[in-house]
Amino acid sequence: MFSRKTLVIAGLLLLVAVNGIVFSYNYIRKSSFYPAAVETALFFAGPLQEGVSRTTGFAENIWYGYFNLVSAARENEKLRRQLSEAMQQVHLCREEALLNARIESFLEFKEETEYETVVADVVGREPSAWFQSIIINKGKADGLRIGLPVMIPDGIVGQVSGVSGHYAKVLLIIDRNNSVDTLVQRTRARGVVRGLSSSVCNFEFALHKADITTGDIVITSGLDGIFPKGLRVGRVSKIIRRSSGIFQDIEITPFVDFARLEEVLVILDPPEIDIPDN
């Protein structure tokens, strides 16, 4: 179409033109025309560029976000499962630790005490709020019999009131039908602890002149023939001294948290008291 000569001339002209533009660039930038032209171009192109960039960026984000989301969801599910397993492990470890702590305190108590004891689990509770008893998983086969004292290292729990081959019923000290002969540790003032409600007992027959103050510790006296002497019962929480009457009205809060009772110790050979026949 074109001769070789024509193509050489056109190429030289293009080279000259390009050189001219390159060489005049600095001149153009310094002229007043250039900024105005840039401004005009930016005015029109800028928003369009921004719009397109944003749109493509948005689409890109959605695209990659979707994939990220899918993988994040999978990872989230996996992590959740791992977390759940870890939580379960932690829970089991915590339960084990609590059980170990309880068993340790039981063992310490067993080593310290001179009495033969057996550990039993609480397997049932009284359905009515008016009465307070529990069922434990040790019975005649383990040496239990009616009247044996039941306790935990914190304090006394109650006494065995019924027994079968492998289970026994324990009447708690907070039951109104239960009473324990006790004394105030500090002043040796005597009284009888009787159940009042699910968390409080009465300290009855404490003489008006007896020196008892709030916070005093009440222990078993050993005179009821059931509980050995010196076991912790509770702390004096309320005292009402009436002007009339010979006894004080005293409430004690047991050391044992009966709502959280899980294991108990049954004393198999409590000391016996010789009671004269007449």
């Binding site: 009284e126 359905p127 019923k169 039908n177």
Partner: protein
């Protein structure tokens, strides 16, 4: 065999309310779940069927409870006989009256407990927690007794079909 099923059901209720329920917070003041069974037996089932089962259930409750021996037997039998006589004179067999009758039963039981405790103490034992207890038990009855009624209806329907092919009126 039918007696065995009914007694097993009563035993299941007893075990449930002496093991799981006292440990669940909020259910500490749940009412005695044998009472709906007593009332159902009383109103909808024949004497020869209900009485022996309730007698055994009451004995079982008395034995495992730390309460005064015989207190559950007294409560259940009185309730059973009282409602059995009542429906001869009043139309209390309608299912929508069931929660009301259970409330009466629960209040009656608490009244018996309160009287026995007061007699043992030698004076009237009055406590705010006792009143709160009854109030909460009544609330629990309102919430749960319609479901219990439906469950009992279903259970006895199944046992009737299984054992004798007879269906008693429980509408």
């Amino acid at each position: 065999m039918q007696y065995l099923v009914f007694f097993s059901f009563a035993l299941l209720i007893i075990v449930l309310q002496t093991t799981i329920m006292p440990n669940i917070f909020g259910l500490l003041w749940f009412y005695d779940l044998i009472i709906p069974l007593v009332i159902y037996f009383s109103l909808y089932r024949p004497f020869r069927e209900g009485f022996p089962v309730l007698f055994l259930a009451a004995m079982m409750m008395d034995m495992i409870s730390g309460a005064t021996p015989g207190i559950y037997l007294t409560t259940y039998i009185w309730l059973y006989l009282a409602f059995r006589q009542t429906w001869r004179f009043f139309d209390v067999k309608q299912s929508h009256l069931f929660p009301v009758i259970v409330i009466i039963g629960v209040v009656f039981q608490q009244l018996v407990f309160w009287i026995v405790i007061s007699l043992q103490a030698g004076h009237f034992v009055f406590s705010a927690s006792g009143i709160r207890l009854v109030f909460f038990q009544m609330l629990w009855v309102v919430i749960s007794s319609p479901i219990i009624f439906l469950l009992l209806q279903r259970l006895f329907g199944v046992t009737d079909r299984l054992f004798a092919g007879k269906v008693y009126d429980s509408k």
